[in-house]
């Protein structure tokens, strides 16, 4: 469905952020994109959604294809119309608009009234809690409600590929598991394809089918989730596990060497 082929992204004409990144998302999959801070995960999403342009960034090499058509270099509104919707990091709700207006604002690419009304009901079907709060200014909603609202906005826009950027950011564990349950339900019931960026590798790998690991603007690991979970490096750096029963010391782990292998 989505085919990112060897892209290079440069900010401000000088800062090279992505250095030949490739990834594939199949229709109906949840794909997780893991990596440390500054690895370029968000930049990857912005390159796909076209929001890079707004920030003086540019895809200078490589191609991005969605449903067989090239979308790199297109305007964000065109990309949304094709069915890619980026749920931005940090819950960017429109604070001075009510929850209801936030949802309506996401319908720019849709014009059929009946369809809009149906989608509106679907949002409340998945987030019944929002219904009671729909006339409250979004700025006054709680963090969890805001996260529900931004996912709800993606549902309003007839999204086929939802790109979630750290949906767990700053939420309590209970809320996080609630949100992830809903994400999984959306995946199963609406057949929503998802590209999920997460710091919380445990969570991401628990719902994803395929995973990519990024370091310094590159993909360093790429495998099915079952295999990733078995990978020693993933266990060590992302899941925080050690082999049971063995004593752990810094010398044994050779942390720096193993990191370094990934950097090259």
């Amino acid at each position: 469905m989505l085919n990112v082929n060897n892209i290079e992204v440069i900010y401000d004409d000088v800062i090279l952020v992505l250095k030949g990144l490739s990834l594939v998302v199949q229709e109906g999959q949840i794909v997780a994109l893991l990596g440390a801070n500054g690895a370029g995960k968000t930049t990857t999403l912005k390159a796909i959604s076209g929001l890079l342009k707004v920030e003086e960034g540019e895809v200078t090499d490589g191609t991005i294809e969605f449903l067989g058509q090239r979308i790199d270099g297109r305007e964000p509104e065109d990309i949304v119309r094709r069915g890619i919707f980026q749920v931005m990091e940090g819950r960017c709700v429109f604070e001075n608009l009510t929850a209801h207006e936030n949802l309506i604002a996401a319908t720019r690419t849709r014009n059929n009234r009946k369809e809009i009304r149906e989608r509106y009901e679907t949002v409340f079907h998945y987030f019944p809690h929002l219904k009671a709060r729909r006339n409250v200014l979004a700025g006054y909603l709680s963090g969890g409600e805001q996260q529900m609202l931004v996912i709800g906005r993606a549902l309003m826009a007839r999204t086929r590929l939802m790109m979630l950027d750290e949906p767990s950011l700053g939420l309590s564990p209970i809320l996080v598991s609630e949100i992830f349950t809903i994400i999984q339900r959306l995946h199963e019931e609406q057949n929503m394809t998802m590209l999920l960026v997460e710091q919380n590798a445990h969570l991401a790998l628990s719902i994803a089918e395929h995973g990519y690991v990024m370091e310094n603007g590159k993909i360093v690991l790429d495998d099915s989730v079952d295999k990733l979970k078995e990978n020693e490096d993933i266990k060590m750096f992302y899941l925080g596990l050690t082999e049971m029963g063995t004593k752990r010391s810094y010398r044994d782990s050779k942390f720096y060497k193993r990191r370094k292998r990934w950097l090259t």
């Binding site: 707004v54 964000p76 960017c92 709700v93 608009l97 309506i104 604002a105 720019r108 006054y140 826009a157």
Partner: protein, 296 residues
């Protein structure tokens, strides 16, 4: 007692109708500021240009007033689009202060063009009957009543438009968070263009109304400066604030003319601003301006 009440109402009603025109122009300021965070200093010149075109169509080309009114509206849309496309779009990403200085430059260009084309004289429309009508003892000319009516209809229309119409919601979304609205497929450029169009249209309507009342001259553009404090008073980014700010400035102007002018001549030009400064000292973000929403 009764005559005193009439005296008050006379100035109050006149102030209200002038104020409703100010409110229209203020709406133009707020729209552009809200969606683009640019303070358009050329708002008064938009108003003046609109008034001149309508005047010229009516008097020089002998068109029906309503026809020339419609032509002026079409022209204002074009003016708004042209300014947005030619002057402001190339400046996207430049510091806000430079863009504001560019709108200041625009004021001189527009004023110069108007003087080149129509000269420096003040001309009168003289279309509406001078004769006042008597509303329960308060005497108002047709012009004042029409001005108030037209402004109030337009203001109500825009209030509903921004609250309920989808385009209105898109515009507020852009004002609230540009990147997020782009991520949802809202074209920021289009919203900017619409804002400039509406701003140009409402100010030229204001210009035509004021021009009918006091004659059309280059000095009309100073109404822009008079409305600016009204906008700041209401809160630069609040549509409701702009409307109330405009009405308050109009009413204060006329009431001070009625009550204080005998003691301090020409106080009516200054008095509204004294009050505005006092209000701003207490509420620096204006009466209805956005306070940052902070959840505790």
């Amino acid at each position: 007692m009764h005559s005193e009440y009439l005296f008050f109402m006379q100035f109050f009603m006149s102030g209200l109708s002038m104020g409703s025109i100010y409110a229209l122009v203020a709406l133009g300021f707020v729209l552009i500021y809200k969606s683009t965070s640019i303070l358009n200093l050329a708002q008064g010149e938009f108003l003046m240009v609109g008034a001149y075109i309508c005047l010229s169509m009516t008097l020089d080309f002998h068109l029906n007033f309503f026809v020339s009114f419609l032509i002026t509206m079409v022209f204002s849309v074009i003016l708004g689009l042209a300014v947005e496309r030619l002057v402001l779009r190339p400046l996207i990403g430049e510091p806000i202060i430079s863009v504001i200085m560019v709108t200041l430059g625009l004021t001189y260009i527009l004023r110069g063009l108007v003087i080149m084309l129509w000269g420096n004289d003040i001309r009168q429309f003289n279309i509406f009957p001078e004769q006042p009508i008597d509303l329960w003892g308060v005497k108002l000319t047709y012009l004042y009543i029409y001005s108030m009516g037209i402004s109030l209809i337009l203001l109500t229309f825009f209030a509903i438009f921004f609250k309920y119409a989808r385009t209105g919601i898109f515009m507020r979304a852009v004002a609230d968070h540009q990147t997020a609205s782009q991520s949802m497929g809202i074209s920021v450029k289009r919203v900017f263009a619409i804002s400039w169009c509406i701003a140009a249209v409402v100010s030229s309507i204001g210009g035509i109304l004021v021009g009918n009342i006091g004659g059309v001259g280059v000095d009309l553009s100073y109404i822009g400066l008079k409305v600016l404090p009204a906008v700041i008073f209401g809160g630069l980014d609040s549509i409701l604030g702009a409307i109330i700010g405009g009405l308050v400035v109009g009413v204060l102007e006329f009431l001070s003319a009625g009550y204080l002018d005998p003691y301090i001549p020409a106080i009516n030009e200054v008095f509204p601003f004294i009050v505005l400064v006092l209000v701003l000292m207490i509420r620096p973000y204006g009466l209805f301006g956005t306070e940052e929403i902070e959840r505790v």
